[in-house]
């Protein structure tokens, strides 16, 4: 850490760059917020200043919440994200623990195999997966996406947790094994409770990826009652060639708020998990 600068140096070294990035990151959000409270007449006017609003209105929010299924989509998104994250974490742990802690034949190969799952791109899988989902008669159900999201989340969780697990000291586990505990007991009682920061870190990242997913949701969820926010917004706030811009922006903001709040609570753990996991991995 670099410390001990005078006020001018501080401004230059700290505030200028930080505010620069902050400005770039937040400008589009300011835009979204302003657009979501602009009445249509101002929205479409080429003359008015895009960054200011003269007669703010909550009409777009009212329309969004009242006439569309936005709340339902938000609920669906949360359900899907939470459950698929939980599944992915569980599966990720089951993959990462042996690879990180146990020396067994084939470990190296498995690690590479898991990593290479990540290389398989979604745009290739979605056609055959659509077939699988249809055969299982899971079309238009949340189960379809809850089952398919972990395919992209598990490799990530496993990888991250693998790195994280390696940083946990072996002594406690060795002691437990000497005392006669089985591997399973050791893992469950001793090891896993130590890894909470890693889980939070992987969990949050997986959650973000899950609620951002679009392609599978687009293909599998065509009924409005089961849609998630990204697909619902794009498919229904855009009727043919008419975009309901005000509502779209309102949806964008409302869509980011819950996740942002969650992040603000957990960002410390997120960083801590990444630190141990990724750096020493």
């Amino acid at each position: 850490m670099i410390t001990g600068y005078g006020p001018i140096q501080r401004t230059v070294r700290v505030w200028l760059p930080v505010l620069f990035f902050l400005f770039l990151a937040l400008l589009p959000f300011y835009w979204m917020a302003i657009t979501s409270i602009k009445p249509n007449s101002e929205l479409y006017s080429m003359r008015s200043n895009p960054l200011l609003v003269h007669a703010p209105t909550l009409k777009h929010y009212i329309d969004l919440l009242g006439t569309t299924n936005f709340l339902l989509w938000t609920w669906n998104t949360m359900v899907v994200a939470v459950i698929s994250t939980a599944i992915s974490l569980a599966l990720g742990i089951m993959l990462a623990y042996p690879l990180a802690r146990i020396n067994f034949p084939g470990a190296g190969l498995m690690a590479i195999a898991v990593a290479s799952v990540y290389l398989v791109p979604q745009p290739l899988l979605f056609i055959p997966l659509a077939d699988v989902i249809n055969r299982l008669d899971l079309g238009n159900t949340l189960t379809a996406v809850i089952l398919t999201y972990p395919t992209m989340l598990v490799p990530f969780c496993a990888w991250l947790l693998l790195g994280y697990f390696k940083t946990v000291p072996m002594e406690l586990e060795e002691a437990a094994r000497i005392d006669g505990a089985s591997r399973f007991q050791t893992m469950r009682r001793i090891f896993l409770p130590l890894c909470t920061p890693g889980f939070i870190s992987a969990g949050i990242f997986a959650f973000t990826l899950a609620q951002n997913e679009f392609l599978y949701a687009l293909i599998f969820l065509t009924k409005t009652s089961v849609r998630t926010v990204p697909v619902g917004v794009i498919s229904e706030l855009i009727k043919g060639d008419v975009f309901y811009w005000g509502q779209l922006m309102a949806a964008a903001l409302l869509g980011s708020v819950p996740v942002a709040i969650i992040y603000s609570f957990f960002v410390e753990h997120y960083v801590a998990g990444l630190t141990s996991g990724a750096v020493k991995g």
Binding site: N40, S41, Y44, S45, M46, I62, L65, G66, T67, N69, L71, L72, W75, N76, V79, A130, D131, N134, R135, D137, L138, G139, N140, T141, L142, T143, L218, I219, T222, K223, T224, S225, V226, S235, E236, I238, K239, G240, D241, V242, F243, W245
Partner: protein
């Protein structure tokens, strides 16, 4: 609005959360026929089915009609799924080239079509183009959702033009003047879906250009006629429009219209419809007209919405009966009227229906049907045509020319692409 809507939202949310966990809802006792439809742009159209037609049919026959709505753009995916799994709906709305792509899995409804044609004044030719697959009717055409010229009457009047120009050349002259007055034209040249094909195919055809002959094999895009159309498009773009149209998607011209950025574009009825509700002042000076004519005629793009019955499934006969009932004048007429001429019927019996008087500016849509064709015409619809359309062969040919590539080169490139696509024809 607030209280009941909030309760509704909560109801939907709870129902949705519960239903979302279950697979496809089970069928009710007694006979049920499921009709799959894309959410209509016009809400009252869907409501008419839900509140008037479906209950009436149930009363008459005891068969329950389930009207399943899927959102705009997801219909092809839904239909594919139903066909691949063999279950999900009994009849469906269908459009564009899908009756041909799915022809094998759709029931022969020639008897319904011929009956309706005899009883209601005969079909427009375009209807046959959209519904007849290998000599059999596989879809009953319901309506056309046309694309027309939208133009600003006030600005056109400023340069002395009271009625919409007859030919492309005349339109070009007007465009030049209007661009100089800061009211340029805006025609989509990007990768949208409707608005680009909506003017580029009619333009190509009106100069006599074709991609592939009616035999479905011979690539004939390399012709003088095509070259003339391209040269026109290039000067039309340079002198009447602005750069951004090259990246436009279907929504862009609607946006530009409401922002009063452009004075003329092609579009379905959505611009006028939206303007009437949100920008009445703009709506007052918006009018619609048929496409201009070229040396070889006047053409429009066919955007036919039809209904097909699936060739599998237990309730095929019931579905056909329902379709027959739906096509009869009493039911169909009421359904059309519920949507204010947004859907243009393909049967001549409706040519003078009162619904046209509700918004007379939509009348050109009716007249345009006589000269409407599917994209890729005169080649017969099929997989090669679908591939050529989805790869934007024609659109990119015009767009590249507009940005400066010589006509010869863009034609050669399109020809190579088409030859590759039609190699297996």
């Amino acid at each position: 609005m607030s209280q009941s809507t909030r309760r509704d939202v909560l109801k939907i949310a709870l129902a949705g959360a519960g239903a979302a966990a279950l697979p496809w809802a089970a069928r009710a006792d007694g006979k049920t026929v499921t009709l799959l439809h894309e959410t209509s742009f016009i809400q009252t159209f869907d409501e008419y089915m839900q509140k008037t037609l479906a209950p009436a049919y149930e009363k008459e026959t005891g068969v329950k009609i389930v009207y399943e709505l899927t959102s705009v753009g997801s219909l092809p995916t839904r239909i594919s799924t139903i066909i691949e799994t063999g279950t999900g709906a009994d009849l469906t709305m269908i459009f564009l080239l899908y009756p041909f792509l799915f022809g094998d899995k759709l029931a022969d409804v020639s008897d319904i079509a011929e009956e309706a044609g005899k009883a209601q004044g005969g079909w427009y030719d375009a209807a046959k183009e959209a519904g007849v697959v290998n000599g059999k009717w596989k879809a009953i055409p319901h309506s056309n959702i046309g694309q027309l010229m939208n133009w600003r009457t006030d600005w056109f009047a400023e340069v002395g033009v009271k009625t919409f120009p007859e030919t492309w050349e005349e339109l070009y002259e007007v465009g030049k003047k209007l661009k100089a007055k800061d009211h340029p034209f805006g025609f989509e040249l990007g990768h949208g879906f409707g608005d680009n094909h909506g003017w580029l195919y009619p333009l190509l055809w009106s100069y006599g250009g074709h991609e592939v002959e009616a035999d479905g094999k011979t690539v004939v895009i390399d012709s003088d006629e095509t070259a003339k159309a391209i040269d026109f498009a290039r000067k039309f773009f340079k002198d009447c429009m602005f750069d951004d149209v090259l990246g436009w998607t279907d929504v862009s011209n609607n946006k530009a219209w409401m922002a009063e950025q452009i004075s003329c574009t092609n579009n379905a009825e959505s611009i006028l419809w939206f303007a009437k509700r949100n920008f009445p002042d703009i709506a007052k000076v918006t009018d619609q007209a048929q496409n201009p004519a070229g040396p070889k005629g006047r053409f429009h793009l066919l955007n036919c919405v039809s209904h097909s019955v699936f060739d599998f499934g237990p309730e095929q006969e019931e579905a056909k009966k329902f379709l027959r009932w739906l096509t009869a004048e009493k039911q169909a007429g009421g359904w059309y009227a519920a949507a204010d001429s947004y859907y243009q019927p393909f049967l001549h019996a409706y040519d003078n229906a009162p619904m046209w008087q509700v918004e007379p500016r939509n009348i050109p849509y009716r007249d345009a049907m006589a000269s409407a064709h599917l994209p890729g015409w005169p080649a017969p619809p099929g997989r090669q045509l679908a591939e050529a359309v989805s790869k934007y062969v024609v659109v990119d040919m015009f767009a590249k020319a507009c940005t400066g590539t010589p006509t010869k080169d863009v034609i050669k490139a399109a020809e190579a692409q088409l030859k590759e696509i039609y190699k297996t024809a």
